[in-house]
């Protein structure tokens, strides 16, 4: 379990992280979301012991980062931003180096090597120089180095940058797989990536926490009502108004009728889904549905509204 408590970090006069608090439990995959410069990487760097907090503290399994930095580092596998690697080493040597620092003996290393080579798909490059590998391979080498000691916690700073769509899917599956038993924190500014992978999202802006929750929760909290666009033929305005009596959860936002069809916009609580009822009602009333589409608020809208709100608050 990781607990970040009132964490602040300043670089000279610039306050990168301001009194940030959150908790992450074991077996959770958490997405750390924020615009560039929001303080994501700084927070992760403090959590891994690369930087010291200006104030506040980080607890990992109740060990605090000031007194137990090395114990915490032993539990963590970290893939830094931009994935820096020793390019003049062979992939095997690099993994061996990480294993040795982690205190693994040869036998232990051999099984771990088989595991990460399989999981990260490195069998083709294991005897190559790191510098000669493609960007996608380098990313996977970085990931393999971070998980060679089978850590309880994986902290991945933008793990999928530079990968092609197929590799992204592979890495995403791998992270999901790992997240079943480990605590995974991954940062990204690619919203689809976060949405597809994580259980819980933490959005920060200007170094402050602006939202926390699952992507559905965030979307629900950002906008209370979902909209449904309907295009109907054979429906009268009165008939549509009557429908409301049968499906009380919807309210009618607008009706535009022309000669052939009616364009209707309905609104309802995000948590309810009355589409089936509407369909059944339309069939019963002998209306034909030409189009029915639910316009969902996506995470992108949530993100934009939250981060821009923060900017205005600061101005």
């Amino acid at each position: 379990m990781i607990k970040v408590e009132n964490l602040s970090k300043s670089y000279g006069p610039v306050e990168a992280v301001k009194s940030l608090s959150f908790e992450v439990n074991d077996g959770e995959i958490v997405g750390f979301l924020g615009a560039n410069g929001a303080g994501k990487s700084t927070t992760l760097k403090v959590m891994t012991g690369f930087l010291s907090p200006t104030s506040g503290n980080v607890y990992v399994d109740n060990l605090n980062i000031f007194d137990h930095e090395h114990e915490i580092q032993k539990k963590i596998g970290y893939l830094p931003e931009l994935n820096p690697l020793y390019v003049d080493m062979k992939v095997f040597d690099l993994l061996k180096f990480h294993a040795s620092v982690r205190g693994m003996n040869d036998k232990h290393f051999k099984t771990a090597l088989e595991r990460v080579v399989h999981d990260c798909g490195l069998s083709g490059v294991i005897h190559r120089n790191v510098g000669d590998c493609s960007k996608g391979y380098k990313q996977r080498i970085g990931l393999a180095a971070a998980m060679i000691h089978d850590p309880e916690i994986l902290i991945l700073d933008e793990p999928v940058t530079g990968l092609d769509p197929n590799q992204i899917v592979e890495i995403r599956q791998l992270i999901k797989q790992l997240g079943k038993e480990k605590l995974v924190i991954m940062s990204s500014h690619i919203l689809q990536e976060i949405q597809a992978t994580v259980d819980k999202i933490i959005i920060i802006n200007n170094g402050e926490l602006v939202a926390e929750g699952s992507s559905d929760e965030l979307i629900a909290s950002a906008q209370g009502l979902a909209q449904l666009k309907l295009e109907l033929t054979g429906a009268t305005e009165d008939g549509i108004q009557e429908m409301k009596a049968f499906i009380p959860s919807v309210s009618i936002h607008s009706i535009n009728s022309n000669d052939n069809s009616s364009l209707v916009t309905l609104e309802y609580e995000y948590t309810s889904d009355p589409r089936k009822d509407i369909f059944d009602y339309a069939v019963k009333s002998q209306w034909s549905i030409l189009e029915m589409s639910q316009s969902k608020t996506n995470l992108e809208d949530v993100f934009r509204s939250l981060t821009q709100k923060g900017d205005q608050g600061n101005a």
Partner: protein, 237 residues
């Protein structure tokens, strides 16, 4: 200790994985060999004084070149973040890297033993003790310069800048006792004590005094300590 060794092995291996080590060893052997044999036959004496006077000069440039990227490169590539977030003490990293650079310097010095072997075969009345203490002095000198080199490498992320700073500091140590005539008498003893040449000349004469050993040990320790503090200072950046 284990981690120091892991870092040491990794660094030494990366020296020999790149052309760096070979270029250093070959050029070092050529340069010292040239200057040694050049004057050796003029003196017509079976000693290695010519070598022992040229190596400190060659070290002035070679050691900062070997050590310049030890930490600077980690900073510029970003791997400093990888290595600092592994469960290793910063002092183990610094010590391991220092020992790796230092070992390469010692390996280079050992190449010149070939001159000694030649001398032992063809020379007469070779003073083996003087040769031995001469080498001992150069090994200690290499340690001081390597410690200065890794220190300057920790100051910047640019290897070239690290090299220039390294040469500058090493030059100060080298020149200190040549400035003695400009120094007021009250400080002369102190300045002389700081000068590396003063201690080196004692050892080269065959006088191995603990005062000199303490000097070399503490200068090396001092610079490694400073380097560790600088590496740690990233945390509060």
């Amino acid at each position: 200790m284990h981690n120091t060794l892991v870092i040491f092995k990794k660094e030494l291996k990366s020296f020999f994985n790149s052309p760096m080590a070979y270029i250093f060893l070959v050029i070092f052997a050529l340069v010292t060999g040239y200057f040694f044999t050049n004057t050796f036959f003029l003196y017509n004496q079976s000693d290695m004084r010519a070598l022992f006077s040229i190596v400190p000069l060659v070290y002035l440039f070679f050691i900062p070149a070997v050590t310049m990227s030890l930490i600077a490169k980690e900073k510029s590539v970003g791997t400093i973040e990888t290595i600092s977030t592994l469960p290793i003490q910063d002092r183990d990293v610094v010590l391991g890297k220092f020992l790796a650079g230092y070992s390469l310097i010692i390996i280079g010095l050992m190449v010149t033993v070939i001159h000694y072997i030649t001398l032992a075969f063809v020379g007469t009345n070779v003073d083996h003790g003087a040769v031995l203490s001469g080498y001992f002095g150069l090994i200690l000198l290499g340690g001081v310069y390597s410690a200065v080199g890794i220190f300057s490498s920790s100051l910047t992320e640019n290897s070239v800048v690290a090299f220039i700073i390294g040469v500058f500091i090493v030059l100060i140590f080298f020149l200190l006792d040549k400035t003695l005539i400009f120094v007021p008498d009250a400080f002369a003893g102190f300045v002389q004590y700081l000068s590396v040449d003063f201690h080196l000349s004692n050892i080269s004469r065959g006088v191995i005094d603990t005062r000199n050993l303490v000097y070399f040990g503490s200068v090396i320790g001092f610079f490694l300590f400073l380097t560790t503090r600088i590496v740690e200072s990233r945390k509060w950046g």
